[in-house]
Symmetry: C3
C-alpha cells in the first residue's frame, strides 16, 4: 500500500467527498433561501432589482439579514473545512477517526443552520458552531504537523 491519494478508491476520501458535498450543497442553498424572502417581501439589495416601479431607498428585513449572516458563517466555516479536508485525507488518518471528524462537522453544521434560521435560544448556536470549529482546528493541526516533517 502506497501513500494515501485523492481518489474515490480511497475509503477516507470517498467519505470526505460525501460529507463535503452535503455541506457545500447546504451552503449554496442559502443563496436561494435568501431569495425566497426577498421576492415576496420586495426587499432587494440592488436598486435595479426593483424594476422601474422601485422605491428610491433600499430597505432591509431582519429575516433576510439573518439568512445572510448564516450564509456568511458557512463561508467562514464550510469552505475552510473542505480545504483543510483535502490535506487531512492525504495525511493518512485511520478511517474511523477521519469519519468521526467528517460526521461531526457535517452534523453540527446542519444543526447550526436549523438553530440559526429558526432562532433556537442560545447556547445552541454557540455549541453547534464550536463543534465544527474544533473539528477544523484538529484537522489543521494534523496537516501542519504532517507538512512540517
Amino acid at each position: 500500500m502506497g501513500a494515501p491519494t485523492l481518489s474515490f478508491e480511497n475509503e477516507v476520501f470517498a467519505k470526505f467527498a460525501f460529507y463535503a458535498g452535503i455541506v457545500l450543497l447546504k451552503t449554496m442553498i442559502m443563496s436561494v433561501w435568501t431569495a425566497r424572502y426577498r421576492i415576496p417581501r420586495k426587499v432587494f439589495i440592488s436598486p435595479e432589482d426593483y424594476g422601474s416601479k422601485g422605491p428610491k431607498t433600499l430597505t432591509t428585513d431582519p429575516d433576510i439579514e439573518r439568512a445572510r449572516r448564516c450564509h456568511l458563517n458557512d463561508l467562514e466555516n464550510v469552505l475552510p473545512f473542505v480545504l483543510i479536508g483535502f490535506f487531512y485525507v492525504l495525511t493518512g488518518p485511520d478511517v474511523g477517526s477521519a469519519t468521526l471528524h467528517f460526521r461531526l462537522f457535517a452534523g453540527f453544521r446542519l444543526l447550526h443552520t436549523i438553530v440559526y434560521m429558526f432562532v433556537v435560544p442560545q447556547p445552541s448556536r454557540a455549541i453547534a458552531f464550536f463543534v465544527g470549529f474544533f473539528v477544523n482546528i484538529s484537522m489543521a493541526i494534523s496537516v501542519i504537523r504532517a507538512g512540517m516533517f
Copy 2:
C-alpha cells in the same frame, strides 16, 4: 486505465484548472476594482486609511457597495465551484459533459460580473446567477452519489 487523478495529464482536470484559474483570477480582481473607486473618491472602510486629515465618520458609496456585493457573490459561488470541481473531476465524468459544466459556469460568471457592475436590467443578473448555481448543484449531486456508494 486506472481511476481518474488530479493531474494535468488528465484532460478533464486540465480543462477544470483552466476555467477555475479564470474565475478565481476574476474574483481576486474584484478587490482591486473596489480600490479603484475608493482612492479617487476618498471613501474608505477603515479610519486609518484617510491618513491624518481624514473625516471623523466613515461614508459609503453606491458603486463601491455594488463592487463589494459582486465580490461577495463570487465568494459564495466561485469558491464552491472550485471545491466541488476537484471532487467532480475524480468521479470520472466524460470530457464533453465535464467541459460543458466548466464552460457554462465560467461564461455565465463573467457575464454575471458585467451585468452586475454595469447595472444591466433584471432578469439578466438572475439568469447569469442561476446558470452557475445549477452547474454547482449538478456537480454536487454527482459527488454526493459517488461518495455514497
Copy 3:
C-alpha cells in the same frame, strides 16, 4: 519521475500543506477574535444572543467591525490562495520558486492581520495586502497557462 502529485511525498506539496494550514488556521481564529470582543462588550449580531434581558436594537462596535473586515479580507485572499495552490503544485514548479510563493503569501498575510488589528498606519496594510495578492496572481497565471496547453 512522473507527473507531480498531491501527496506529502511531494516536497512542494508538503510545503504547501504547511503554509496553507497556517493561514487557514489564522483565518478560522478570526471567528474567535470577534467573539472575544462581543461577549465582554455585549455587542451581538443576532437578537437571541442577548438572552431575555437584551436591548431592543442591535448595536455595533468599531473593534468588532474591524475584526469582521479582517476576517472577510482573509476569505477573499486566503481561500483563493489555497485553491489556486492545489493547481499550482500540479504544474510542477521547482521547489525554490514554489516555497518562495508560499512563504511570501503566509508571511505577509500574518503581517496583514497584525497591521489591521493593531491599526498600524497606511501604507502598511496596502503593502501586506498586495504582496499576497500578487503571489495569487502569479500562481493563477501559471495554472491558466498549464491548463491551456
